[in-house]
Point group: C2
Chain length 265, copies 2
């Protein structure tokens, strides 16, 4: 299969760098084709602006409209076009990055801001009436798997269900559901290493084996059971119907519960 | 009072630009001093890397350690030092930005990644035993108010408690609690305009008046009642104690409930 690794860390000899190298090695051993987007090495432009569109004149910038026009006419800058090509080529995408301030590093956020153009990652399908586009279970990236591989400086307990930093599942919801699931990707449970500043050699050996095993099972693992938008779970205003997700609150209501059918019509 | 506006939008004539201009005008009319960090106009460097530290040699980059050393020795780059100075000068900070992919634009994330250095925004106070630093209710930015002013392309219902995109309070938790509350700021309810692509002149007049009123009451509004870390609510592992936040789940357990005392000892 074809795997894209999007990697965001400024130091090649960092833990993140080692995990990226390990991923390349393991995935190639498994017989996959692997491409790495090393955002720091590529000096990826993080800030979305009018320079992203080759044919734009001096008129007022509308990123939504201009990105759609440029996507349709092939006038996005070469760096963006290349990343779109890699995404469409891939069967799975591994995102390797440190959790900085409860989210991804700016350079990776800028990858999504710029690559996820209108007409590609959003603005797909019918919009109107009860239909709000092909998203959350549909979209141009349907059929691809995505996994976050994260390093976290803090302790696991601080990210537990009642931990001070917030539950990791909640912190990652804007990324996993909001960014990756939106254009149709299938999301696997994240791979996480905590307390990375105190990682011993034994710790590395332990975690690197766990990571390698996750990667070997990339296409067999059961994904996170997010509900599909257009499968009867949400009403015409895209609000979860009464009776679904009861007894839960917060981001977890968007997970299919045991016994609930995938299609709810 | 002294107010810092951190503004992140590439188009000066955008709705975000108009809201920023309005904020400057209203806050000055109220007699406040106002400074704007216009990140796009400043060409703010978004990606955190080794170039952020003037005295660093060629050794392996450790952003955590190197940022602390550079902060203590005054060898952060001038752009970072200037933003730290503005934060310390301020009594309140207004963040004006569009919600892109359920979070802030990369250029703004890069402002936090680079300005929030070790020894300034984190790594403050005792770490050890039951004490995990001065954060969440303590820290170097204690006493300052912070408010997010957001524009959102989608519909309000899609961001409601059971809406398809996730509840806005959950989506903003990593920013409001994780980034702003962490170093001690007091967080106000966000100001939000939805469906910004369809905003009519009447809509603008309506929302700009609401925004002006929020700004006039910046120092009178009741803030979001996040629990303090070191006030007895969390146990020695920083997990919320049994009996607190019962009947709630997700990010809302970190809000003080009616009748619960601020200090829980």
């Amino acid at each position: 299969m074809k795997i894209l690794i999007v990697y965001a860390h400024p130091e090649p000899t960092s833990l993140n760098g080692s995990l990226k190298d390990l991923a390349v090695k393991v995935l190639k051993e498994e017989g996959h084709e692997v491409i790495v987007s090393d955002l720091y090495q590529m000096k990826w432009k993080a800030a979305a602006d009018g320079d992203d569109f080759l044919s734009r004149g001096s008129e007022r910038l509308s990123y939504i409209q201009d990105s759609k026009d440029a996507f349709l006419t092939g006038t996005l800058t070469a760096d963006i076009q290349e990343e779109i090509r890699k995404l469409l080529w891939s069967d799975a995408v591994v995102f390797q990055f440190p959790l900085w301030w409860f989210s991804m590093p700016a350079i990776l956020k800028g990858w999504f801001d710029r690559v996820y153009v209108n007409g590609f990652a959003y603005g797909i399908g019918e919009h109107g009436g009860d239909k709000w586009g092909d998203r959350y279970g549909e979209g141009k990236l349907l059929g691809r798997r995505a996994i976050l591989s994260l390093t976290i400086g803090g302790r696991e307990k601080h990210y537990s269900q009642r931990g001070i930093n917030g539950f990791l599942d909640d912190l990652l919801f804007p990324i996993q559901h909001g960014i990756l699931y939106y254009p149709g990707m299938t999301i696997l449970e994240p791979f996480v290493i905590y307390q990375t500043n105190r990682l011993s050699q034994e710790g590395w050996e332990h975690h690197s084996q766990l990571f390698a095993n996750r990667l070997r099972n990339l296409f067999n693992e059961k994904p996170i059971a997010y509900r599909k938008q257009n499968a009867g779970h949400y009403d015409g205003e895209q609000v979860l119907k009464p009776g679904l997700g009861q007894g839960m609150s917060g981001t977890s209501i968007h997970l299919l519960q045991p016994g609930e059918p995938r299609e709810q019509f």
